[in-house]
Symmetry: C2
Subunit: 256 residues, 2 copies
């Protein structure tokens, strides 16, 4: 966190991702195309969408049969009952209102539609498909990192990013759902400021800050820049922690 200079570079030339694609290979190729050699100190922010696509997490809504509960929630929100059924299969609905369902995903993530996205699924598809989050995004990040090491001999940290709405704040922001090779939650407890006073902010959502930074380059309008390389981040010595560490336990939440 003490670097004087940080660079973010969107990797160029990534193709549309399909199920079974070797993302690590495509990332290495894209980095080479950009004249970049990956480094152990780099961080790669990778959009959830392409991880989910590579892992075959798309579903065909025509094959989803809505339950009674899904039909009730659909009537209340105006959303597609099949989409709601898919959401219910991913987690527990916490709140709803017209055009919006907020769910707690089984991963603990609280987000709209349990992270299921109907935009930007394969361009040649018929619009009846939706994309779910990876089954285990921390494991996805770890696998991607291991495969990068296999291909290149170096293992940049990996953050899988999504875009979350938030209580109290308008506007969605990039947020980490998976991480490997860095402390997603950076614990500064016990450290003191230069006057010897205990720090006010003692745990930093490092991977979330990385995801938000990467989101500035990824944009929203297409998946043209789904991988962003961060170079120059100087991390304090700390044990790596997955993005699961960023999930506040419900019992600890004053607003849930």
């Amino acid at each position: 966190m003490a670097a004087a200079h940080l660079e973010l570079i969107a990797l160029p030339g990534l193709p549309t991702i399909r199920e079974g694609d070797d993302l690590a290979r495509l990332i290495v190729d894209a980095a080479a195309l950009g004249g970049l050699q990956l480094d152990d100190r780099d961080v790669l922010a990778v959009a959830q969408k392409i991880v989910s696509k590579a892992e075959g997490r798309a579903i065909d809504l025509r094959q989803v049969v809505p339950s009674e509960m899904a039909r009730l929630l659909a009537a209340r929100t105006g959303l597609d009952a099949r989409l709601i059924e898919a959401i219910l299969a991913e987690g527990e609905v916490l709140r709803s209102r017209p055009h919006l369902v907020i769910a707690r995903h089984r991963l603990g993530l609280v987000l709209a539609s349990a992270g299921i996205d109907r935009s930007n699924v394969e361009s040649e598809e018929d619009g009846e498909r939706a994309l779910r989050l990876p089954l285990d995004p921390d494991a996805s990040a770890a696998r991607l990192r291991a495969r990068l090491r296999e291909l290149t001999g170096v293992a940049p940290a990996v953050v899988v990013t999504d875009t979350f709405g938030r209580p109290f704040r308008l506007g969605a922001v990039g947020t980490a759902i998976g991480a490997a090779g860095l402390p997603a939650l950076l614990d500064l407890r016990g450290r003191v400021d230069r006057n010897g006073r205990t720090l006010q902010a003692t745990e930093i959502g490092l991977a979330d800050e990385i995801a938000a930074a990467a989101s500035l380059l990824m944009g929203q309008a297409d998946e043209g820049q789904p991988v962003v390389l961060l170079r120059g981040l100087e991390l304090p010595p700390a044990t790596p922690a997955p993005a699961a560490a960023l999930v506040r336990p419900p019992a600890d939440d004053l607003f849930g």
Copy 2:
């Protein structure tokens, strides 16, 4: 949002900030020291702490007389009753538990201790001082930007940043409390993805993403790097909006 490359540079050599300091002048000097010439397309992220200090927002807790309510909350949380009194003067307490008070600041911001910070107040002080948020951080950002234009002829966008805890997520992250010269909340409603589908995330918390990115360089441990220059951010054409636009109206909040 479509740049391929984004640079973040912590401005070097900023002195400890004191009440009445001309922050713009100090920033221009620090940029020059770093060999940087400011540009209209740059964004300057400025830590709330130095804005508050320059604006004389420190208070001496020895002069604060706690009310009955403050003493009750102090007993419940273990926090200093004078600090709680200062919090109550800044906003409304929403939740509390041992060592933590979450308040809605009169600016609408929901954050710990209404943003009042006891760490890193002047090093020569006696520890009885605390720092409040700027009176109007959007106006602070606008004034800083106007003064930069006066001094240099160019007007980078300005984001005043603080560090917020969050519902549902552990770890504090950089968050925007003031902004000038950019759309703090970027409205993409009506835009469509490349398949003609309406975007899922239609409002982006742009200034919050900028604050989170800058926070990666600012660090937490001291105020050594309280100004970060972002260069290369390509913003879509959009009307500027202040950070106040990022405050979700309580009536719109499903979790407040």
